[in-house]
């Protein structure tokens, strides 16, 4: 056995250890798209806020805002699945793998809890902490999922949590911080991931 063989052996071991445990077909471009959807959603939300006449009828406004946020979520998840599926096929790795299952389960727990918690907040009329709550739970989901995909996802999660806490601390900036967290950060992180891993 020669030295270069040993190096090849060690790097193949490292590659397998990582590949077997993680989902590395996550598409960076889908992060950029999610960010764009969030910006569009925030734009619509801001317009509703500015042009709408909601005197004493907060619930209509909240419902509209909620539907916009829900549409952003569905489009983001849909695009994420589609682009990641395409990337997995392109690099010849299974999409439905041990890594992707673990990623989904570990992200789903904080996400579903956060979703239900947000419903409860709206039900009780605590509209002011809806935006901070979605940011915090989304950040927790990213941190939980980061063990099963690119490690950069963890720092994105931590920033989302900090933004959520900040939004809770200073009322009135919910939409702005939500736009930064779900829009701007996704575009930046998605673009970095795309150029680092996809091309």
């Amino acid at each position: 056995m020669e030295e270069k063989d040993i190096h090849a052996e060690l790097s193949s071991i490292r590659d397998l250890m990582e590949r077997s445990a993680k989902f590395i077909s996550l598409s960076g471009l889908s992060g950029v798209m999610a960010g764009i959807y969030a910006l569009i959603g925030a734009g619509i939300g801001y317009n509703l806020l500015k042009t709408g006449n909601y005197e004493g009828d907060n619930i209509v406004f909240i419902t509209e805002l909620f539907l916009v946020a829900f549409a952003v979520l569905i489009f983001s998840i849909g695009t994420g699945f589609w682009l990641s599926y395409k990337k997995a096929r392109k690099i010849g790795r299974p999409f439905w793998s041990t890594g992707s299952k673990r990623l989904l389960i570990n992200m789903a727990i904080p996400l579903v809890s956060g979703g239900l918690f947000t419903f409860i907040l709206i039900y009780h009329g605590h509209y002011g902490i809806v935006a901070p709550a979605t940011l915090i739970f989304y950040g927790l989901a990213l941190v939980a999922g980061s063990h099963y995909t690119y490690s950069g996802v963890k720092s994105l999660g931590i920033i989302e949590i900090l933004l959520g806490l900040l939004a809770a601390l200073i009322p009135g900036y919910g939409l702005l911080l939500w736009t930064i967290g779900f829009g701007v950060l996704h575009i930046i992180y998605g673009a970095v991931m795309h150029f680092k891993y996809d091309s």
């Binding site: 030295e3 040993i6 060690l10 397998l16 990582e18 077997s20 445990a21 793998s97 041990t98």
Partner: protein, 100 residues
């Protein structure tokens, strides 16, 4: 330059066995089909290497059912983990020796 293989684990002389162990030490457990897909092996080939590792008591088998489908999972034993570490150390030592 040729290096003697004496300090290496005989069980890991085969590349596929070393690859299987790499996957098992990085995961709590792994199932047969995922392992087959990951390493791009045939059923028979993978099964024979798994048998060999099981014989060394480097890994354990857990057989269960998901619905009606049999689900066979493998996990590394303490003995296997120690052997894997030792083997990696031996590889690294060799590289270091050659640098001197």
């Amino acid at each position: 330059m040729k290096i003697s293989l004496e300090q290496f684990d005989k069980a890991f002389e085969n590349r596929i066995r070393l690859q299987i162990m790499s996957v098992l030490v990085a995961n709590e457990s792994y199932d047969f089909n995922s392992l087959k897909e990951l390493l791009e092996l045939t059923d028979g080939n993978l099964a024979s290497h798994l048998k060999a590792l099981e014989k060394e008591a480097y890994m354990e088998v857990q057989k269960s059912f998901i619905g009606r489908k049999p689900n066979t999972r493998y996990s590394v034993t303490e003995k296997g983990r120690a052997a894997f570490k030792k083997h990696l150390q031996a590889l690294e030592n060799l590289i270091k020796q050659q640098k001197l």
